[in-house]
């Protein structure tokens, strides 16, 4: 019997749903292969998240509670994960693909001698390692990629799997990991948080995204009103992040967040490849753009060719009757 290990990320005081998606996939794999499923939570208050993690069926949960993990730092995170890997000897360690994980994944792979499959859309255990499908070339196609080795690290794009509760009786163990902060060579000077508890874009069920067509405060106001009405997270194309209209944390794309909502509404979004790479997995895509040749209309479930200043107000009025 081998072991599959899932990393559980905590953000803004909550377990990230994308981690639970990955845990569910690992639960299915563990069941199919007859492996033990373990999870690891690394946070000063790790113990407070154990109950929720237990609901998704691991056999065992490690907690690492050193105060060094209050903020993201790559060095201690790599050290902690390497220690758990050495102890647990998993065939597979799976992560949700977040910026913090992207910051450590490659270094961790080298540290523990594990092959790495980053940012995958699906993955499986196979003889001698693991298999995955992952988007390449700005998500124009999928590459079937195989990793070989006794330990494989996999990071998974959010929305690739469903988080399916599987309540169980997990044992819990506080894993000792002491990090001497004096050995830290880098200094974290500041964290300028832009999320402030707003709906996490990469986990949102509904996303309203603003593109180049959203040129001024009036348009931005309409976008915000639509989003607020729908309880949607607000995303943005690179163009409007560059102008400073929207924060960088709202950028969707090849460089930026990957979203997979049930409903994506693109306002003034043209559908450039790099943006589409971050939202093509949305279930329903609505596009509002005055350019009938905008590539987004090739992708949209429902396309509205027209001026957003003329379309959004009646749309908002219509939706007020619904929600």
């Amino acid at each position: 019997m081998g072991t599959i290990l899932t990393y559980i990320a905590i953000q803004d005081g909550k377990v990230k749903r994308s981690s639970l998606e990955v845990l569910s996939r690992c639960h299915a794999l563990a069941k199919a292969c007859g492996h033990r499923l373990e999870a690891v939570v690394i946070h000063p208050e790790a113990a407070s998240y154990v109950e929720e993690v237990r609901n998704y069926g691991p056999d065992h949960i490690y907690t690492i509670s050193s105060p060094i993990f209050r903020r993201h730092l790559n060095t201690p995170l790599i050290g902690a994960l390497a220690s758990v890997i050495k102890y647990a000897e998993p065939q597979l360690l799976a992560f949700a693909s977040t910026e913090s994980v992207k910051d450590v994944l490659g270094a961790l792979g080298v540290r523990v001698g594990a092959a790495v499959l980053p940012d995958v859309a699906s993955f499986d255990l196979v003889d001698g390692g693991a298999d995955a499908l992952r988007p390449v070339m700005a998500a124009k196609m999928m590459a079937r990629t195989q990793a070989s080795g006794t330990c494989v690290l996999v990071s998974v794009r959010s929305g690739s799997y469903e988080a399916i509760p599987a309540p169980g009786e997990a044992t819990v163990e506080e894993f000792p990991y002491d990090f001497d902060a004096g050995t830290l060579r880098q200094t974290l000077r500041d964290v300028v948080s832009a999320t402030g508890g707003a709906v996490d874009l990469s986990e949102a069920r509904i996303v309203v995204a603003a593109g180049r067509g959203v040129k001024d405060d009036k348009a931005k106001g309409l976008v915000e009103e639509l989003a607020s009405l729908l309880g949607a997270a607000i995303g943005a194309s690179r163009a409007v992040v560059e102008t400073g209209q929207f924060p960088a944390t709202s950028q969707i794309g090849q460089t930026g967040k990957v979203v997979s909502p049930d409903l994506y509404i693109g306002v003034g979004i043209s559908g450039a490849i790099q943006h589409v790479a971050g939202m093509s997995n949305s279930r329903i895509i609505v596009a509002i753009n005055k350019d009938p040749d905008a590539p987004i209309f090739n992708l949209a479930t429902y396309g509205l060719v027209g001026d957003l200043y003329k379309i959004l107000p009646p749309l908002i009025a219509e939706l007020k009757q619904t929600v």
Binding site: S100, V110, L188, R189, A194, T301
Partner: protein, 243 residues
């Protein structure tokens, strides 16, 4: 400041169909640009390293034309298979004992979108590092990196020597002027041929490619804005059942 920027030639992914046009990886272009901004302000030189086939030498000349000083071309043959593990090991071998203040790379390559090589290289060289940088600044003894994290921007000071991977959100890379292009022709480029056996250090391989999952064809809604709005609401509530 002594910089080494690791660069890669990739297909032009901005075109919807593959045209065969090869370009300097956009994220690496940002790394080169930022290195130029910092060396223009603080003095210094920029060395380049590229792992790739002979045809990638035009990308080296492009980065030299932007203003880099010299380059090392680790020339691979067509039958060499690479992944991030193999590339980072090869780069580490050639950077061991280096005297650079900063080794910079793009945060990912636009063909693989793997985003592993930079951090793997930092680990192999034992360097403190930061990834996904959107801003760099120099202070005495430190590189101050502003990176895009999960909750917002993180500002991290790294001692020299260090490694940083760069986002293309950091800057708009300069387009080489004619003078730079002419000068680039005379800048030194050393070439080392890489033994294809290096493929043995790769731990992953691509078995094949598949199309992205298809989407059901969509529809355009007609009429005046009010009619479109009404039709959309009806579709979202009754047909798509997403509201």
């Amino acid at each position: 400041m002594k910089f080494c920027v690791c660069i890669k030639q990739v297909p032009d992914v901005t075109a919807p169909m593959h045209t065969g046009r090869m370009v300097l990886n956009a994220y690496d272009a940002s790394a080169v640009e930022e290195a130029l901004v910092l060396t223009e302000a603080h003095g210094g030189e920029i060395d380049l390293i590229l792992v790739g086939p002979e045809s990638a030498s035009e990308t080296i000349r492009k980065a030299l034309a932007m203003g880099a000083t010299r380059a090392l071309h680790l020339r691979t043959s067509a039958d060499t298979h690479f992944d991030s593990a193999a590339v980072s090991e090869l780069l580490a071998k050639h950077l061991t004992g280096h005297e650079y203040d900063v080794i910079a790379t793009g945060k990912q390559a636009q063909d693989t979108d793997a985003g592993l090589t930079g951090a793997m290289l930092a680990e192999r060289l034992g360097l403190p590092y930061a990834t996904n940088a959107v801003g760099l600044a120099r202070e005495p003894g430190s590189l101050v990196v502003t990176r895009q994290g999960d909750v917002g921007e993180e500002v991290i000071a790294l001692p020299f020597p260090c490694l940083v991977t760069c986002s293309n959100d950091m800057n708009d890379p300069r387009i080489p002027k004619l003078k730079g292009i002419m000068q680039a022709k005379r800048k030194p480029v050393d070439t080392i041929d890489i033994d294809p056996a290096i493929s043995g250090t790769a731990t992953t391989r691509v078995l094949g490619f598949e199309p992205m999952p298809g989407r059901d064809p969509g529809m355009l809604l007609d009429g005046e804005p009010e009619e479109m709005a009404h039709a959309l609401r009806q579709k979202l509530v009754e047909e798509a059942r997403v509201l």
